[in-house]
Symmetry: D2
Subunit: 363 residues, 4 copies
């Protein structure tokens, strides 16, 4: 079989480098272009010694390098507003795009523009983009794959890291209609420092982040509308995304990779913990990258660090009738690059976990 | 002035050693007895080289050593059920007790027994014990100080670490009656590993706790009833502790000292963020150990590590009308030993921050 | 091709679990037995959630389980003295053994007995065992592979983690005869906490190891004679292992995986840094798992964590004529399990890096 | 008694902020000026919330602010070349200077210029400056104090962090003439990340430094000549600083504060470990800030983090006749700011540990 030619725009950021790492060992994708901004011209292995074997002699090219036009698929690991520009140019040439920026996460362009306070320059594309969260959007991704076969390049707007974990934690309860409408829903996210990006700042200095816990981005973090959109889709009787009374607080803690979403869901009715657990197992029964742990076993991020896996579970406090739903992921793995590869696998009609079988280190 | 003679029962656990460290530099308390279980007979400085200068040649004695009976005050840093036994013996001899176990945190003995699933062997004492959370119980502590002057030994049941932070985060909003009755209240706590105690287990192994985030103790952690009791006292219109629909999820993250409580409070009415901030500043205006940060500045645990201070702030999401109230403490400092010393200061009519002026390292 | 049936004795320790992780993804070895002591009977995935997918339903069996006798090769990841007992029983049945204990690291049985202060119960085997450090013993491992083909089971005594890094750092300089005979050689090793083993102790408690640096095992650590043995083999003019004046100080620092050996080598003659670098490149030109970095680029353990790779480089201070040779490995990877798999690959005539292509996370 | 008026030039760097923290609680020094570069105009407490209580309302002023001229003593926590400029201006006005830059560490101006590859603009001052390492320079500091009484402002060039630990580890053995002349001396230093400074760079990014060990600054780090100078003074028979064959390798590991020096000293003659230990105890018997641990107990940096203390010990390998001498300090404490305060105490004829009694957190 021919290799699928892949490019990575923004290969030197944390998500881009993780894509490079994953694709280096993928049996079907072949990386033919790695782009960078200021670091264009450097060798990938000089920048990241861990990649020296995989990319020996491979030079980073500028973001607009023509080699991208020979790709079958391009991953765009860039800040918002850059994603839409690259996508427009590539889609026009028939190249499928897996965008890791925020630019194609909302089909509702108004909502995007209000949330990010910028204009969308590719609204037509935004409206047809598929939301890249495979466990809850698998059918739409299959459909996009069929369209790609028929000549229409695919455009996937990958879910963010906090949102992915928030969705996976709550999806089974929401899809089963178990949640009390109108009640406040609370999502607390706790993330490692790779989530703050590669830029060296006072905040990402080792000595600032180490031995510290802090919340940030309050009161209204811009991932909250994306979580609300997903929750509304999963349980329409909650109302529209704007209606949902959702509180979201992200936290930064001292580790490299790992993200835990803790979702507090007031329930509409009494439900037995075993029944809730069965609902979770059933929901994810066809999802090879999501593990529902045994009842009463809680997720740990260390068990999924460096991998494409998510671990999920939910408990219920019978007195208060509030469920606590939990999901652990690697924010750069299932929360970013690995989920992007999972989407690409689906778009190219490969088993969704192809090339994603890495197991977390113990310890 | 004569020194106030102090003893520490359980001086080798993390909270006990922190008490020893704080009292070594306190201008009025003089430590005359440090007790231990299996480690009795060792020198404190051999066990903890950091204390070598402060306790040169001081030997740990058994928990029931008679030197305790020469104390004016004894701090009991022991597991629950042990606290009540020591307290009974000491109070009987007229010695004031500052208990760091859970045994005197509930005046309602039934509630204690249901929560901890043990019988209380000193129910009379439990009923008269003062809850050791000075910012919300200062008057009761002053009263106990006056009673001590009149010959009745004081008994303080110090608040736990998660509970202290949960109280300080929410107290101003609750005391002002701002919270929506009946709505679910959500407290997420994130703590460093000293909170898991000194015992070496698979869970506290460096390699298990490092590079990991996990929630634990779900669905119904036994600190939840203590938080509910405090919230009910602060805002009686919420109903009794049993009535409050409170969800509490504690999390373990890889650092030594630090605890952040993130409290989501649905509000009864619209309130301006500046007004909420003013409410917080006013509430803590007489509390030397609590810092309300400038509006929009969020607490960091690193700024209070190793100290007796708490940092507090609150934000409001105007769309959802949910406040997010935050408090950062050192779980062994303001969350345990330093708050115990603060209580003792009040009981002995010293300024409450006496001996508690240490400043956190930067960084 | 038929799978090569493999067993792991001691699969629950850190090195054993790493073997299980590596072999789960190896294209030729198939794990048919995982043994444990107290944890026999548990499922591997319940103990280590990261392995749940790879070992679903696989139960740990006792160390003497008969399924081991159906193996083609058994890895023994056990303490010293246990290695020799398992090996004797398995070799007798024609099963090749890759031993990760210290029991077969010395062909000189006396030296083993003096170093470990125990009797060797399988001295014949010790004398014929091959030292499992492929970059410096590749020919002997090929020879053992040929003998295995001819019916004699192989016995490999894998090099320890500190020793592996100390050898790789210094081997090119020693093999080229560059080192000043009689001068003191100094090896300082700095290791993460997985090197201290899985046992939960005061020393491996998160809060003890975190935010701490310490040396240990001084003055005469038992890995020093193993390093001296290797150095003597590589440069016989230094004299016997007993003659070499070697100082070795291991250090413990707060991370999970990673080991850096810093070897100070007084040189016999002036040598240009570029010439020394060329010597290093040449020495490792046929070693797929060792990367000699560009001149003046120093190794970082993070670039090899979770992998089978070593990074090596050396500098010279021309004024003092002392070279500083450095090697970074993952103590559980190239320092233990991955090197054991590399040895097994050679024994079964596979390319030595088969199944060992994992790339370190960035970051 | 009148307060001694102190200023800090460079109060926002890590060493400067530590000085501000220490002086805030010092019983005799009163800080009347804190200077900054780009951050001048900010409040100290806004920049470092931990200092909010101690410096409420105190604004950072520019480096050349006139308030400095009202000081009795100024601490200069600035890069090399800046130290000499500030010192010249202050000394001229009769103000004593405790310089934490490298500018006054060498009385031999040529040696300074060769090491730092810059010209010295205050060579006269450099020649008369006192080396700020009190345990080995106490008499000279006393002398400078007497001169200050007589009207000549003191100028102290504080020892660097690696050098301080290297001196304290080896001083007793060197002063007793125990070391083999001509043999290579090896110093390996292992430091936390505060040692790399406050600047946010790729190297100090949390995710780069975390879970990593690396050596740096090889082959010829510029602290090596300073170590050699100190060793030559302590044991003149080793020859001049240029003669000593010293290898020094610094290492960076993931923690905030802590530095361990491991010094390998080939000995001239056999010496019993107990005798060596007695030599150490005797050497430091009048040094309140240095603890010689019990024989066979090795220093840990955690026991001195946040403090002015050093822990020291030494072992001997009788076979190789190489001693391993160890010293643990806080690189910002005894390695920088606390040692500067200790020097200032001596210059102002206070007990040298005044205001330096903080005890390290456990843990």
């Amino acid at each position: 079989m021919d290799a699928i030619r892949a490019g990575i725009i923004g290969a030197t950021g944390f998500a881009g480098a993780e894509l490079a790492r994953l694709l280096a060992l993928h049996p079907r994708f072949e990386v033919i272009a790695l782009t960078a901004g200021a670091e264009a011209g450097m060798e990938m292995g000089a920048l990241y010694p861990a990649l020296e074997h995989a990319y020996r002699g491979v030079q980073l090219v500028p973001h607009h390098h023509e080699s991208l036009f020979s790709c079958d698929v391009v991953f765009t690991a860039v800040p918002h507003t850059a994603g839409m520009q690259h996508a427009a140019r590539l889609i026009e040439r028939g190249i499928s795009v897996i965008d890791l920026s925020a630019d194609f996460r909302f089909n509702d362009v108004d909502r995007y523009e209000r949330t990010y306070e910028v204009s969308h320059t590719a609204p037509q594309l935004a409206r047809r983009a598929v939301y890249g969260q495979p466990e809850t959007m698998r059918e739409r991704l299959h459909e996009a794959a069929r369209e790609r076969e028929n000549g229409m390049p695919a455009l996937v707007g990958c879910a963010g890291c906090y949102v992915t974990a928030s969705i996976l934690a709550a999806a089974p309860a929401l899809a089963a209609g178990l949640v009390e409408p109108c009640a406040p829903l609370v999502v607390d996210g706790v993330s490692g420092v790779t989530g703050a990006g590669r830029k060296a700042t006072a905040r990402t200095h080792f000595c600032t982040a180490n031995e510290n816990i802090e919340a940030y981005g309050l009161p209204a973090h811009r991932h909250a509308p994306e979580i609300a959109q997903a929750y509304s889709r999963l349980m329409p009787s909650l109302g529209s995304a704007e209606d949902i009374r959702l509180a979201f607080a992200p936290h930064l803690v001292p580790l490299n990779r790992g993200l835990l979403a803790t979702v507090h869901l007031p329930l509409a009715t009494d439900i037995d913990p075993a029944e809730l657990h069965a609902t979770y197992c059933s929901f994810f029964s066809d999802s090879p990258l999501v593990t529902v742990l045994d009842q009463d076993v809680l997720p740990k991020t260390a068990a999924v660090a460096g991998t494409a896996y998510a671990q999920v579970n939910a408990t219920v406090d019978k007195r208060t009738r509030i469920a606590c739903a939990l999901c652990a992921i690697d924010n750069l793995g299932k929360g970013a690059a690995a989920q992007a590869v999972q989407c690409a696998n689906l778009i190219f009609e490969l088993p969704e976990n192809t090339g994603l079988d890495a197991i977390a280190c113990i310890p």
